[in-house]
């Protein structure tokens, strides 16, 4: 992917302290990344703080990115997700499961079609479709919206223990399918 090669090149420049390269990463990725943080935090101030935190980490860790071990876009996205998840944990992940902005689009099975834009996404979509509806929703809610087990349970109207076992079994099925 040309786009990802370009990002990887920018990360290599960030690693040697090139601010303009970090700004170029921001210019290309901030809308996507802010969306990632917003899906988890659902608060523009908190999402902006998480993105700021993530870009500071990028500045410090860009040298750790190894293009042989993964794609630049996914690597950057994961730093942002973890920054947002840390913020969500720090504020106690108050349950906002009745928030109307929360992820109806993402739990709609047709939303998985969005995954087909990239090769890895097509494989993941294929594997996610092997899961039952509810475990799949649980996994998507957790990953995309940063919901904890109790939040997923409340959202899906299912006992906590059931949700935990769905997610575990879902992950094992995914791993087997993706291997």
């Amino acid at each position: 992917m040309v786009e990802d090669d370009e990002l990887a090149g920018l990360l290599a420049r960030v690693a040697i302290g090139d601010r303009a390269a970090l700004q170029a990463v921001y210019a290309r990725q901030s809308t996507r990344l802010f969306g990632t943080a917003m899906a988890i935090l659902r608060d523009r101030t908190a999402a902006a703080d998480a993105l700021q935190d993530a870009f500071l980490k990028l500045w410090q860790r860009a040298g750790q990115f190894d293009p042989k071990r993964g794609q630049a876009q996914a690597w950057i996205g994961q730093i942002v997700r973890h920054a947002a998840l840390d913020a969500a944990r720090a504020r106690g992940r108050e349950v906002l499961s009745d928030d109307p902005s929360l992820g109806d689009a993402a739990v709609d099975p047709t939303a998985l079609d969005d995954l087909s834009a990239v090769e890895d996404g097509r494989r993941l979509r294929h594997c996610l479709r092997q899961l039952d509806e509810m475990p799949r929703q649980g996994i998507v809610l957790a990953f995309v919206h940063g919901l904890s087990h109790p939040e997923v349970a409340e959202r899906l109207g299912t006992p906590l223990g059931t949700v935990k076992s769905w997610i575990r079994r879902g992950l094992l099925t995914l791993r087997e399918c993706l291997a």
Binding site: G17, G35, M38, A39, R44, F55, R89, A142, V144
Partner: protein, 241 residues
């Protein structure tokens, strides 16, 4: 972190998966973070799950951040990057091919002063040695305070000055009389030659320079957490007449 992590392979796989999924609570996530420092299999499992699940990020709707966010980010970036440039191949290594294991450090320093090719006159220098006292890095500073490191080709059987997978070598400085080392940056994975143009600590005589082995991303605590691989003390080099 008193949590003991599971040893059962399936339970470990699930722990890594749930870490990436984000369903671990803060305490469990911190336990995984801590364990990944020393448990490279767990770190690898986390990396694999990250790659597998990354496409799910596409399901979040893109949204433009506040217009002043970049300005805010730029204002908080540390003035000096803590990450050091990728190395070029060591031009000094040939010097050391025939280096006898038992040679004294004083001789090493003198040899460097005498033969260092096209280098600036260093203000301080030292040879960083392993715990077997074999020279591994030449460290020197210039009159402006920049610190340069050049890897020395190790004698047979000595540790390579390179970090294993998932770990990184971190450079530290400690002024005489101080207790807490200060991070000077992360070293590239492969040995070579690196320069830290503006180190976080001003080079002074008798300053301890050490390199520790740390988890990817560097020490999470701001102090060395892994073994000290190499160390040496700066000595002043007389200015040219």
């Amino acid at each position: 972190m008193s949590d003991t992590l599971p040893t059962d392979p399936e339970a470990r796989e699930l722990l890594a998966g749930e870490y990436v999924l984000g369903t671990l609570d803060a305490r469990q996530a911190a336990a995984v973070n801590a364990a990944m420092l020393t448990d490279s299999d767990l770190a690898e499992a986390v990396a694999t799950w990250s790659r597998c699940l990354a496409p799910l990020s596409r399901l979040a709707l893109p949204e433009a951040p506040p217009s002043d966010l970049w300005t805010r980010i730029e204002a908080t970036l540390p003035a000096n990057p803590r990450i050091i440039a990728a190395p070029v191949a060591s031009r000094l290594s040939w010097l050391w091919r025939g280096w006898a294991l038992g040679a004294s450090l004083a001789a090493a320093v003198l040899a460097v002063i005498a033969f260092l090719p096209n280098a600036e006159q260093p203000a301080f220098m030292t040879v960083l040695v392993s715990d077997r006292a074999s020279p591994a890095w030449i460290a020197q500073t210039d009159r402006l305070g920049a610190i340069s490191l050049a890897a020395v080709r190790p004698a047979f059987g000595d540790p390579q000055p390179a970090a294993p997978d998932g770990r990184v070598m971190q450079l530290w400085g400690l002024h005489p009389g101080q207790a807490a080392p200060v991070s000077l940056g992360l070293l590239p994975r492969t040995p070579g030659r690196v320069t830290i143009p503006t180190p976080a600590l001003r080079p002074v005589n008798d300053m301890l320079i050490e390199i520790s082995l740390e988890p990817a991303g560097g020490s999470p605590t701001g102090r060395p957490t892994g073994p000290i691989l190499f160390y040496g003390r700066l000595i002043e080099v007389p200015a040219p007449k």
